[in-house]
Amino acid sequence: MAGRVPSAGPGVPSAPGAGPAPGVGRVAVPGRGPRVGLTAQQRAQRRLGWLLCAPAVVVIVAVAGYPIGYAVYLSLRRYDLRFPAQSSFVGLGNYATVLGSSLWWKALAVTVVITVVSVVVEFVLGMALALVMHRAVVGRGLVRTVILIPYGIVTVVAAFGWQYAWTPGTGYLSGLFGDAAPLTSQTWGVAVIVAAEVWKTTPFMALLLLAGLALVPDELLRAARVDGAGPWARFTRVMVPLMKPAILVALLFRVLDAFRIFDNIYVLTGGSYDTRSVSILGYDNLFTALNLGVGSSLSVLIFLVVALVAFVFVKGFGTAAPGGEREAGR
């Protein structure tokens, strides 16, 4: 990667994300040396690292540790609030129940489709928006403020608005498809859900990408142009590599969220016509059926799928990922 970045001159000591920076830093930076016999500075760094992380770790473990552990425990039991007498340990039985049900696989497929389509669309739109916000000559403040409004609206309320809008008779959008009611078929239902999701969360993507763009040094782009790189080359070879960490965060967190989509579906279709996501399924089993055993195993399975996706992502982005090997020892 470093080779593709046009020589940036002495003004740009470290091209982040684009490989090790030339020059002074490497030798002097602690952490590269042999592990044995920590220097005083290394020890101080360790202590500071732990101190700085302590609040976050304490909060995370204290608040999320017990509930997550409890959910895992429940997932191994037959535990239905309506039949308290029948509680017992069933091992992986609940998981077998879920994995053996066509409801789970259908919901998983719908969720994957919604996640992939909405995140891809959001990424493209979000990148375009970020570039517009970054480069706009006029009305930059206006655009930056306005695009955040969809993200700021409470999802459930926005979904109510969409539901009214798409329903024949009460809405302005339903006419787009003649007399049909778009929310009454799987294809159109999913399409409307994706549209609502994209409208709502593209700003999230755009804002993160914009912040990433802000870190791309103009000098580098200028140098690239001097070297004869066209706009597309400058975008793909200079900007995108430099934005990789921001892109990773934006994509990763959007995927995590999109995969657990709930509010929009709950209001728009209620999960009918096989527009049910895995979270809707989890809600029905946990909150409606009060079957905490099966519901918890659903939650754990959702978690495992998401974790797998996240793992692939982080691996795919390699050193751009936080905690990756490179940056701390650079």
């Binding site: 309506r82 129940t97 879920v98 409801l103 008779g169 009918s272 029905d284 059926a289």
Partner: protein, 467 residues
Amino acid sequence: MVTGTVVVVAGPRPRWRVRRSGGVAGLLSGRGGRCLSGGRSAGGGRRRAGRGRVGLVAAVCAVVGLVGCASSGPARGPVTVRWYVYDESSGSFAKAAADCSAASRGAYRIAISVLPNDADGQRAQLVRRLAAEDSSMDVLALDVTWTAEFAEAGWIVPFDAASARAITAGTLPVAVRTGSWRGRLYAAPLNTNVQLLWYRKDLVARPPVTWAQMLAQARALAAAGKPHLVEVQGAQYEGYTVLFNSLVASAGGSILSADGSRVELGEPARRAVEAIAALAHSGAADPSWSNQREDDNRLAFETGSAAFQLNYPFIYPSARANAPDLVDRIGWAQWPSLVAGRPSHTTVGGYNLAVSSYSRHPGQARAAIGCLRSRANQIRTAVDGGLAPTLEALYSDRAFIEGGYPFAAAIYAALRHASVRPQTPAYQSVSLQIADRLSPPGSASVSALGGLRGAIEDALDSKGLVP
């Protein structure tokens, strides 16, 4: 809109008056100075299996009185009875709570803890607290379908025989059925609800009696280029289960056996599905039918595109407010039947009041329930809030009829024939399965019934996933 938590404090009263009122009421009920324990024992009420027959009015006083007696122990000031209930929009619940607190003469004060507006949200909050054995809950407002579930989980205590007799006397039998589980009364009917067939008098000369007639009339109207749609709930949710239940009952069957242990369905279910399919393919169904709930039906009817609507009476005051030129053209009749010559059996709705197992004041809670569903309070809730009362006598009461229920007689007739949704602790799962297997209405087919039977059987055993 009423504030989040209405705490109604009864004014301070001299202690002797509390005692005296207890005494008087006690005399009426023939129970002297016996006190309720007021303790946390859930079985307290059960053990005091009552003696002596008491009339409704006497019973209300009796419970109130007994509580007065109970609270005259070491406790200072009135005991707080916490009532978990949704926020009735006219504020009639808050007024009832205030009046009852005052009428208890210091025995208790009812503090309302407001629950969310939708039934699922209410249930989620109640269940979460009950599972945590929250002792701050005394009186619970329960949807009619939750009785078996809450009773079986041990979250609510049944009324003792005397209280149960007092509650059931003069109360609509169908409403009592919704509050009962395994032969005991767990929840006292607060208000009820039932659907009617609403139709446009300017379009329909004689309201249809059967489902087939309704569809035929709709077709004729469509051919004449007039508003012809039939508005009925079709989204995949509880309301669609209600529709199915009404149709199955009207065809002479039921979804589950009376004790909730076996799946029935059978021929009546087949006829019910055929009725849904007939509407779906008649051209009279709303294009959005498969995504419509009660309020969507009301809106569509108010826009004037429909000739028929199967819905609850709330649509009438709503039309008066929102579509005044339409309201005089709205007629009402019994829900269409499926079997010629036999009445329809629509599904009963409404709310009941139960005492939490974890209440520290079950005696006062029972007393409060007696008062909250008193005649005066039911009339106010009906007139101000439009919720149908559960006391039979009110259906010939002028204050009620003229207070906005011109169709009281029709409601009463429907309630006399009304059916109850399957009574089982697993009702929510059963309902989810029904709504899922028969959705969307356009593709509901008899062939789905086999799968539905198996799905309901699994749901009864809490096996497998629910959709």
